[in-house]
């Protein structure tokens, strides 16, 4: 498999009030095409900053990021970010939100693409609704539909389910796996939920507290659908938690 994403020795620090605060301190990672990598780390360890840099919203102080072998410039539709608070436009209908990301083709074909992906995420029948008429879980589905519709190749997720209650979050994880089984995308997931990472990812990286570096890496060799209560999954969870300083 060829590398989708190559991140080499990325560093970033912020200056505030005269002092410099190193946030990301030499982060390297290679992600294969179609691989699902979860990144877990303690709160405030610079995970979100790291993700913003990888997705192109912020520039690193040093280091390089290659996407499909080319140096990453600003953000573009080849890598869509889905964050905790969501960015569905409340002034557009569900369908208009998905059409928004589509920059090519006529209106008819855009609507057809939008309706297809709305059906994929289970929002058929809500095309004309406004976001404030949807539940939190449905908003997440819409966010996924909008991202998938542009066929991004890579999806960056920054704690995408942490705004949902436990049940809705479990449901959305299952939905995400179902969708990814249909259309394989490379996924980078940031989470503070170790079980979520074990449920979804092919590989789990544990980050050290600030400045962020990779502290440990675990492969998740289990086949889908995964049983989190299995002995192997539980012992993996314990190993990850131990790396996070919990046992």
């Amino acid at each position: 498999m060829r590398a989708k994403l190559v991140i080499q020795d990325v560093k970033k620090s912020f200056t505030s009030g005269g002092g410099t605060l190193p946030v990301v301190g030499g982060f390297s990672l290679t992600v294969d095409q179609g691989e699902f990598v979860a990144i877990v780390g303690p709160s405030g360890c610079g995970k979100s900053t790291l993700m913003n840099i990888i997705a192109g919203f912020e520039q690193p102080d040093s280091g390089t990021i290659l996407v499909d072998g080319a140096v990453r410039g600003g953000p573009n539709s080849k890598g869509i970010m889905i964050s905790q608070h969501g960015s569905v436009f409340p002034w557009l209908t569900v369908r208009q939100n998905v059409v928004f990301g589509l920059n090519e083709g006529d209106e008819m074909s855009k609507c057809a693409v939008a309706d297809h992906y709305l059906a994929v995420v289970g929002l058929k029948g809500f095309e004309r609704s406004y976001p404030h008429e949807l539940s939190g879980g449905m908003l997440k589905r819409l966010e996924f539909a909008r991202a998938l519709a542009v066929r991004p190749g890579t999806i960056y997720m920054d704690e995408p389910f942490s705004g949902l209650d436990a049940l809705a979050s479990m449901l959305m994880r299952g939905e995400l796996l179902r969708i990814l089984a249909e259309e394989r995308h490379t996924v980078l997931l940031i989470t503070h939920d170790v079980e979520e990472a074990i449920h979804l990812a092919d590989r789990i990286l544990v980050l050290a507290p600030r400045p962020t570096v990779v502290q440990a890496s675990f492969d998740v060799p289990f086949k889908h659908p995964r049983k989190l209560s299995s002995h192997d999954a539980q012992s993996l969870k314990e190993n990850v938690l131990r790396e996070l300083g919990l046992n």
Partner: protein, 282 residues
């Protein structure tokens, strides 16, 4: 029951005011100040001789032209100031100086520049409406939630599409609030401006009724009509707030408040967990 209360309570206050007014007028023995029934008769007189509609039409037309000119200038300028920091830094101080000058203070200059025709009140309405609209629009653009702008950048949309589908809809609710406020001010100003020298309009009607034989019944009649039209203008702009594409802003305020509270609670909790993890790590 609640609804009945909401109608009955304000109605009873109005009835009380009318009662005090009719009781007090004969006692004051002023001879000039009109009783409520004389005012009603005055309105009937204005309707019958047909002059009322002309005055109302003239005032509304001046407000309409001046206000539309203000909108046409203020919204593009406000968007530009909101998007480009250097434009904001350059123009904001000037705006802040002009804004607190009462439009009434411009009357002498308006007469000097535009004479006593229609152009003067239109100019005054423009002055009254344009500064609050510009500043409201610029502030609204600056406070657009960055996640929406980021989403626009992420999907690689063109500048035109970003403006049409993200920036303008995001600030539209604030612009509508700004329109309500400035239209109210414009209505205040037109009446004052028409008192100067014009031959039509509700402000002229007030001054003319007083000058032409102390017709205070017509003065009070015109005042009440001004109040009612102002109310109607406000109700009309308020209806804009019910448009589906702006309702998200007004109706989620309360919900958003409780959501924010919940989230900050969760952040606190997460901080606590991180603290415990730190302890355990040592």
């Amino acid at each position: 029951m609640e609804k009945l209360k909401q109608v009955l309570c304000p109605l009873s206050v109005m009835a009380l005011l009318l009662a005090v007014w009719s009781a007090a007028t004969p006692k004051s023995e002023s001879g000039i100040f009109p009783a409520p029934l004389q005012v009603v008769a005055g309105v009937v007189e204005l309707v019958q001789d047909g002059t009322l509609w002309g005055h109302i039409g003239a005032s509304l037309a001046r407000v309409g032209v001046g206000f539309c000119m203000a909108l046409a200038c203020a919204i593009p300028l406000g968007l530009w100031m909101g998007r480009q920091h250097i434009v904001y830094v350059t123009l904001n101080p000037v705006m802040q100086v002009f804004r607190p000058i009462s439009p009434i203070a411009w009357i002498p200059l308006a007469i000097l520049w535009f004479g006593v025709g229609n152009a003067s009140p239109v100019f005054l309405i423009f002055i009254a409406a344009v500064f609050p609209l510009i500043l409201q629009t610029a502030a609204a653009v600056q406070t657009i939630d960055p996640r929406y702008l980021r989403a626009g950048a992420n999907f690689g949309v063109s500048r035109g599409k970003l403006l049409r589908q993200v920036i303008i809809p995001a600030v539209l609710p604030e612009i509508i609030v700004g329109m309500r406020i400035s239209l109210g001010v414009a209505w205040l100003v037109v009446v004052a401006a028409e008192m100067i020298a014009l031959r039509s309009g509700l402000g002229y009607l007030i001054m003319d009724s007083r000058n032409a034989g102390n017709r205070y019944d017509l003065v009070v009649a015109a005042m009440i009509i001004i109040g009612l039209i102002g109310l109607l203008l406000d109700v009309a702009t308020r209806r804009l707030e019910r448009l589906k594409s702006v309702r998200w802003r007004y109706r989620t305020w309360q919900v958003a408040g409780s959501k924010v509270a919940k989230e900050s609670l969760r952040d606190q909790r997460r901080g606590l967990v991180a603290g415990l993890q730190g302890e355990a790590g040592r």
